[in-house]
């Protein structure tokens, strides 16, 4: 590490607005949490999320009462909304890990003011994603049958199945994301503990901070730990969506059986994830007056990443269609012809306009620097990415090899209630996080300040 520091680095561009000191940064971020005042925006969003959460509870109770038939899953489309939503949510989570791990390794210090809430977003998105395969099992209370443990039935999971790989990949991802997020929080919990006025705050934050005191010895170990965790999380995040795509590619269904699904899925995941980061960041920074910390530059950079990954996704659509034609397989060709002209053609073309046409507006700087337009395009991308998963899953299953087995999928109201319910679940978790924990990493933002730089004259 020490030797690398000798390499001449260009003067760091200012990431956050001028005029901040260590104290004001701390106060501004911590005062969002340590105050009696709750903004109306927070209450309104929480109430909306809470009501949607009730829809989730209702539909889950109904699902357990009556069985998975309350959803529209019928032969041959047995995956329906459940797996669509699973892939969508887990993809959204990926941007958080990308920001916290990959951009840390790449030394992109601008990430410091958006990584915390992006990681929280990851965590909650994975929680929402995890619900769907569990509920889709029909008997969620027997979920532990998926884990390898010695049992009286003398059966164990089939380790050659991508669905079992998925169990391992997603649970590892959830665990590592939680650990990474918590390790990042420790120094800030120490700050909150020291700032807390009330006894409850002192005890709760103090308990969670575990006696962190900012010792230089600890910081040096801490930095090693975050680098190592970032190094571990980077291949992990790429592997998770790869494994998710294996659920499809390892099967032989036309429209699924293809080798470029892994990179295509990972790009799509980051695409939708950054859209979600923007959807969360833009209102939050306006409500809490954090424009000085989450600057237009952050939004613009996120917009650029969205554009880049969006173009990769567009390329994947083109190649997918080309390969279907080039493969010479009538089933593949038919699958793609059905997508474009068949019963789901409306969704297909809507998806193309959301994911391929719309993001091209991000080429314009004016578009990338306008929060309102960015917010709108992020919503469009989220819709587009949801449709992409829907298209892949439903249209391929509905019309496979034998026309006599074809049948269309119709979502029931409980499909929609469960889907919107998880959005409510996400909102409730996210807004509780915003209220209880610092949504921007305080200590990492301090390192961005010009005062944090040790001046040259002391260097040997």
């Amino acid at each position: 590490m020490a030797d690398e520091q000798l390499i001449e680095t260009p003067e760091r561009e200012r990431v956050i607005a001028p005029g901040y000191t260590f104290g004001t940064v701390t106060d501004q971020i911590a005062s969002v949490v340590q105050t009696r005042h709750t903004p109306g925006f927070w209450i309104a969003s929480f109430v909306v999320g809470f009501l949607l959460l009730q829809a989730l509870l209702l539909s889950v109770v109904l699902l357990m009462w009556k069985g998975v038939g309350v959803w529209g899953i019928r032969t041959p489309v047995m995956w329906g909304f459940a797996i669509t939503n699973f892939v969508w949510w887990i993809g959204i989570g990926h941007a958080g890990t990308l920001i916290s791990a990959i951009l840390l390794l790449l030394n992109q210090s601008w990430r410091n003011s958006i990584n915390r809430f992006a990681e929280a977003m990851t965590l909650f998105a994975v929680a929402c994603a995890g619900l769907f395969p569990l509920l889709h099992m029909g008997r969620p209370w027997l979920f532990y049958w998926m884990l390898p443990y010695p049992n009286t039935m003398r059966v164990l999971p089939n380790f050659r199945s991508p669905l079992v790989w998925d169990v391992f990949a997603v649970s590892t991802y959830a665990t590592v994301s939680l650990l990474f997020w918590f390790v990042g929080l420790i120094p800030d919990l120490g700050t909150l503990r020291d700032r807390a006025r009330g006894l409850a705050g002192k005890y709760i934050y103090g308990f969670l901070a575990m006696g962190w005191r900012g010792s230089a010895k600890h910081w040096s170990i801490y930095e090693t730990a975050s680098l190592l965790l970032a190094g571990l999380a980077t291949p992990l995040v790429l592997s998770v969506h790869t494994v998710v795509s294996f659920d499809f590619t390892v099967a032989i269904v036309p429209g699924w059986h293809s080798t470029f699904f892994p990179p295509y899925f990972v790009a799509g995941a980051i695409y939708s994830g950054f859209a979600m980061v923007l959807v969360l960041a833009i209102p939050l920074r306006a409500v809490y007056g954090l424009q000085g910390l989450i600057t237009d530059r952050h939004l613009e950079n996120s917009g650029k990443i969205m554009l880049a990954t969006g173009l990769i996704v567009a390329y994947a659509y083109i190649m997918e269609t080309f390969m279907a034609w080039y493969s010479g397989s009538v089933y593949e060709q038919q699958a793609f012809w059905n997508r474009m002209t068949g019963p789901y053609s409306a969704q297909y073309w809507f998806l193309i306009s959301c994911n391929v046409v719309a993001p091209n507006l991000l080429w314009f700087k004016k578009f990338r620097t306008s929060p309102v337009l960015l917010f709108a395009s992020s919503i469009i991308v989220l819709i587009g990415m949801w449709l992409e998963r829907y298209m892949i899953i439903v249209s391929s299953l509905a019309q496979d090899f034998v026309p006599s087995s074809w049948a269309l999928f119709r979502a029931t109201r409980w499909d929609w209630a469960t889907y919107w319910g998880t959005i409510g679940f996400f909102m409730v978790l996210f807004f509780l996080f915003v209220r209880a924990l610092p949504m921007i990493s305080i200590f990492e933002v301090r390192t961005l300040l010009p005062q944090a730089k040790v001046r040259e004259e002391v260097r040997r």
Binding site: F168, L232, V458
Partner: protein
């Protein structure tokens, strides 16, 4: 314990203290400072080794779990395919490597830092709560062989410290 206003002064002070021969030093800062780590010679730690061991354990656990299950404990012959189908073991082996390595990184971090530690003498200094905000502290521990109440205090005062205080313990 001496209090400073900005990181440059702290790093200078830490260098001076090292040159004076003090070895049982610690500094308390609101964010990690690379130069301070250099100044206090703190670059080596055992964490990478712990993580390596954790990762290897995870990898072996993953592979052996699958080998044991599919070859020894519950072999199923499907169309004469080999029982030891290593390509399909790769993913779970990889995931468990990452899982074990990450858990050992976090436990290693806590273990090497001695956390959780609910009580530490430095918290007795009234102004120490600013160490998590905007102040920088350098602490020379009394177990240092060169430590002497008067001269050490004088030395710390000579470093342009904002305030020098004694840590009760």
């Amino acid at each position: 314990m001496a209090e400073f206003d900005d990181p440059t002064m702290l790093v200078n002070a830490a260098r001076a203290a090292r040159e004076k021969g003090f070895r049982r030093l610690d500094a308390y800062t609101p964010f990690p400072i690379e130069d301070l780590t250099d100044a206090l010679h703190l670059h080596r730690n055992k964490l990478p080794l712990i993580v390596l061991i954790g990762g290897l354990t995870g990898g072996f656990t993953g592979y052996l779990l699958q080998y044991f299950t599919t070859v020894i404990y519950y072999p199923i012959n499907i169309a004469g395919r080999p029982l030891h189908s290593w390509p399909s073991y790769i993913i779970i082996t990889f995931e468990l490597t990452i899982l074990f390595a990450s858990i050992s990184a976090v436990l290693g971090l806590l273990g090497l830092c001695g956390l959780p530690m609910p009580y530490h003498p430095v918290f007795n200094v009234p102004r120490f709560s600013a160490a998590s905000r905007d102040r920088f502290f350098l602490c020379i521990e009394s177990t240092d062989p060169l430590f002497d109440r008067q001269s050490t205090t004088k030395f710390l005062e000579s470093l342009d410290a904002k305030e020098v205080s004694e840590v009760e313990h």
